[in-house]
């Protein structure tokens, strides 16, 4: 189930079995195949083109933008945007490091929180199992809503303007726990846990040294869910980080705020130097978009099989 599509090589290996011959006979007509292919090529292009477009814009010179606008074929290429990002590297690097740090810390914490409860729920003899199933199920049905959550997080937990506000609220989700519980129940043999118990290992040790090492695929799946969620998050920063704490901004939120930021930078640059008028603001924001998108676009094709397996387990009833 890991790969949604059968491996083409395997298909070739069994090329002459009866069933394959049947499937060959049972194919759609070449015309339909052509039409379907065309539809998918169009859709695939539609999904990739904006990324390419933004990369091209970020590599256009500011002069080209002001005469020709955003275009797939700029009048003139240029690295103005990246040069400018380099000039304000203290701000940009700060937010890149924030994003990376938050992503790593959040993923670690999230994995600890989800795997432990996932394991506990997979133990059928745990006396509070039914209680815990409801305990994680109720928040899936009902939540406090934005206002109540915000008031609790700021006025009770004191998370306003801290890194914790960007990490803690996203760390755990009932969906992840259910995926892990399903994985532990279906793929970790009871014999392994029993053997650990017979050898006198504590539950913590069984969990850390026996269960986790053989559950790496599931851990990778949840880890990826968490990584992408943290890397893409801007909403928490918008809620909990005020303008007085710019140092805490993750990269995504810099992008949200960029209009305000560019105005701020322009004003400051004006004080410092005379060339503030040539500030490549149009291309610069696209350059930041590129910095955010590139790690995702380059890595997800290799990771998507873990995503798919997670989605498949997650949508199984259980």
């Amino acid at each position: 189930m890991n790969n949604a599509l059968p491996n083409p090589r395997e298909e070739k290996k069994n090329a002459f079995t009866a069933s394959d011959g049947m499937m060959r006979f049972n194919r759609v007509s070449p015309v339909s195949n052509g039409i379907f292919s065309l539809i998918f090529i169009v859709l695939a292009t539609l999904c990739v083109v904006p990324v390419v477009f933004v990369i091209i814009i970020s590599l256009s010179s500011e002069a080209s933008i002001s005469t020709k606008g955003y275009s797939f074929i700029p009048a003139q290429w240029g690295l103005d945007a990246y040069g400018y990002l380099w000039k304000m590297r203290s701000t940009i690097f700060r937010s890149v490091f924030n994003s990376i740090g938050i992503t790593i810390a959040g993923t670690m914490l999230g994995l600890v929180l989800t795997t432990t409860l996932g394991y506990v729920l997979s133990r059928k003899n745990f006396f509070m199992r039914r209680f815990y199933i409801w305990f994680i199920f109720i928040p899936m049905l009902f939540n406090g809503g934005l206002l109540s959550t915000y008031v609790v997080n700021t006025q009770l937990l004191g998370l306003k303007d801290t890194y914790l506000a960007l990490i803690l609220p996203l760390a755990c989700s009932s969906f992840y726990i259910i995926i892990l519980r399903t994985f532990f129940t279906t793929t970790v043999p009871d014999e392994i846990i029993e053997s650990g118990r017979v050898d006198g290992a504590s539950q913590l040790r069984i969990f850390a040294q026996l269960v986790l090492p053989i559950s790496l695929p599931a851990i990778a799946t949840i880890g990826l869910f968490l990584t992408f969620a943290y890397w893409n998050d801007w909403y928490q920063a918008m809620l909990y980080i005020s303008t007085s704490s710019r140092d805490l901004y993750p990269l995504q939120y810099v992008l949200v705020n960029i209009e305000r930021n560019i105005a701020y930078l322009t004003n400051n640059a004006h004080v410092m130097s005379a060339d503030a008028t040539v500030l490549p603001s149009e291309t610069m924001r696209m350059a930041i978009v590129v910095i955010i998108v590139m790690p995702i676009a380059l890595s997800y094709p290799f990771f998507q099989k873990y995503f798919i397996s997670g989605l498949t387990i997650g949508s199984v009833k259980g």
């Binding site: 189930m1 599509l5 059968p6 069933s19 049972n26 194919r27 759609v28 379907f36 998918f40 090529i41 859709l43 695939a44 539609l46 999904c47 904006p50 990324v51 477009f53 606008g69 955003y70 275009s71 059928k124 003899n125 745990f126 305990f135 994680i136 928040p139 009902f142 939540n143 406090g144 809503g145 934005l146 206002l147 109540s148 959550t149 008031v151 609790v152 997080n153 006025q155 009770l156 937990l157 803690l168 118990r197 539950q203 913590l204 992408f228 893409n232 998050d233 801007w234 995504q252 992008l255 924001r285 978009v289 955010i292 676009a297 997800y300 998507q304 989605l311 498949t312 949508s315 009833k317």
Partner: protein, 335 residues
């Protein structure tokens, strides 16, 4: 259960195990409880405290200076019964109606298209001759799912910006006058844009879920139907779709449970929260956000009331959808 299995296989081992188990049972349970503790604390702080905090909706919440949230809530905020809700539906009726209409309206479209399109595409892609091409296209279509709405908002801006945007430049080069896309004059297009963007971003996800289900279908079913002379269309209608029904039911129930929620980023970021488009993108979430942050001071009363309605109605809808499915199709309900 494990012990009982062992019992049938080998009596003496099971007896030994049982003794061990009784001796170490409570310590075992305690260790499991300990393992569950960090997550329990997380849930109490980040899920159950806000659920408890929902009583703000029935109070006139006032922050007491220097005192915490719970003290303020319990001692400094008088009960006002349903006053907050009354305000929502009398003084504020027009806006309330608008946000509910937007939220539910968009979600209805998303539910219908969000099931129909991915299922169709998943069936189509499973029919492609070239596996390699199927894989490449599926990977490309999955890409937008991994991007944030902020980034998507900038993609949209690259096309729709008034001065530099690609669309306006094309319009100009064909001799048409440019359109101010983020202004009131383009308001009629935005519902279509929003639906398109939502589908564009989530299509790949739905497709992958249904493709996985299709690849799990037993191939002999199709072979048997071919021998009986079934056409491709009949195969889809009588084999593929019925076998996709369990997963479609689950996706449907979950979507109905979210019918009063909206993806804040879609509505708030892709429209660049333009003032002249508010009637198009103000969903409950956007409304709550605006009345908390885009005002001089947060309005607790009717904001929390709309948040409460959103949660409560969503929960009710989920239960209704689930019991409807359970009634007609008992095996495929979620709980």
């Amino acid at each position: 259960m494990e012990v009982r299995k062992g019992f049938i296989k080998n009596g003496s081992v099971a007896v030994k195990k049982k003794k061990r188990k009784q001796k170490g049972a409570w310590i075992d349970q305690l260790q499991l409880l300990l393992l569950a503790a960090p997550t329990t604390i997380w849930y109490l702080l980040f899920c159950y405290l806000p659920i408890f905090g929902i009583i703000i909706a029935f109070k006139n919440y006032r922050v007491a200076a220097g005192k915490g949230f719970i003290w303020s809530l319990l001692n400094n905020s008088p009960w006002v019964g349903l006053d907050n809700f009354r305000f929502l539906f009398s003084n504020n009726a027009q806006k309330t109606l608008q946000m509910f209409r937007n939220t539910v309206g968009y979600n209805l479209v998303f539910i219908v298209l969000g099931v129909a399109i991915p299922v169709t595409l998943a069936i189509m892609i499973s029919q492609l001759y070239s596996r390699r091409m199927a894989k490449v296209c599926q990977t490309a279509i999955f890409l937008p799912y991994f991007l944030s709405w902020v980034v998507v908002g900038y993609f949209v801006y690259a096309f729709l910006a008034t001065k530099e945007g690609l669309v306006n430049n094309l319009l100009l080069s064909f001799g048409n006058s440019p359109v101010k896309w983020y202004q009131g004059e383009a308001i009629g297009y935005w519902p279509y844009f929003l639906v398109f963007l939502q589908l564009w971003k989530t299509m790949g996800y739905g497709m992958v879920v249904y493709m996985a289900a299709i690849s799990g279908i037993d191939g002999t079913l199709y072979e048997a139907s071919v021998i009986d002379g079934a056409s491709k269309w009949q195969q889809v209608k009588h084999i593929t779709l019925p076998l996709l029904r369990p997963i479609m039911s689950i996706m449907f129930i979950m979507a109905v449970g979210r019918i009063f929620s909206s993806d804040f980023g879609l509505f708030y970021r892709t429209t660049r929260n333009s003032n002249s488009l508010t009637s198009i993108y103000t969903t409950i979430d956007v409304y709550v956000y605006n009345s908390m942050f885009n005002t001089s001071r947060p309005v607790y009363g009717y904001t929390s009331a709309s948040g409460f309605l959103q949660s409560a109605l969503g929960c009710i809808m989920l239960i209704i959808a689930n019991s409807a499915i359970r009634r007609f199709d008992p095996e495929n309900s979620m709980f």
